[in-house]
Symmetry: C2
Subunit: 147 residues, 2 copies
Amino acid sequence: MARKKKDTQDVTEHFDDLIKDIKVAMMTTVEADGSLRSRPMWTHARDFDGELWFFTREHSPKVDEVTHDHHVNLAYSDPTRDRYVSVSGRCRLVLDKEKARALWNPTLKAWFPDGLDDPELALLCVRVEKAEYWDTPSSRMVQLTGM
Amino acid sequence: MARKKKDTQDVTEHFDDLIKDIKVAMMTTVEADGSLRSRPMWTHARDFDGELWFFTREHSPKVDEVTHDHHVNLAYSDPTRDRYVSVSGRCRLVLDKEKARALWNPTLKAWFPDGLDDPELALLCVRVEKAEYWDTPSSRMVQLTGM
Ligand SMILES: Cc1cc2nc3c(=O)[nH]c(=O)nc-3n(C[C@H](O)[C@H](O)[C@H](O)COP(=O)(O)O)c2cc1C
């Protein structure tokens, strides 16, 4: 399986492109007993600079899980376009109302009906360490490094 | 978020249904350093009985990873239909030519051009321990147990 390395600037530009039409990632975290769980999460990735942002409730199982073990995987997949992306990174909880205001987007009302006033509203920031993608028709895996 | 429990028979029937139109899972494994990686994998799930089967090369990073830590997550997502499924389970390598013959399907030629004669051809069997799904439009999470 061919692997290609790209330099940092390339990666950053390319990454925006890769996930721009796939907004929802399946975020996998490690539970206390070692099980792996995933759930769909809406990605905020405008002007990707090595970090991806997500909204969460401050008190939720996934926050417990990333506090216990920072490693996460973000899987972006779109079977109709045969596009698959794996992002490995470390995740931390961020309580920052200013940042939340900057990222807020009306789509989020579905999960946070009280919007920015919701006292439980918090952010998860994933620092990307490795990204790999597969595209049609070769199903070749390309590895992005230097992030 | 509402959670529903279903009994075993229900789950088995329902599960087939859930993933029947999403053939490709993103399989997440744990690397030796704790990082989480995922990759697209073609699912064999006819007549689901609590196990899901995948073809793999016997000597490949994902086999090393599941040998070191059996936990995997399978994320099935179909953004166009807003359907997301998380499967948590344990994975083991199976070397069984008879089973491989029973599961073989011509689509696999893309990754295994030598087909059943490939000496590297092996199987991964995932014993499902928990499954959760989200569907439109409520984004309600439903937990399937009893597997
Ligand atoms: C749509 C799609 C389906 C794939 N299905 C399989 C599969 O069933 N088995 C497999 O070993 N690799 C499959 N691959 C390739 C894997 O994603 C991966 O690149 C390869 O197995 C090596 O993974 P590893 O380095 O993590 O071991 C598939 C790739 C694509 C794009």
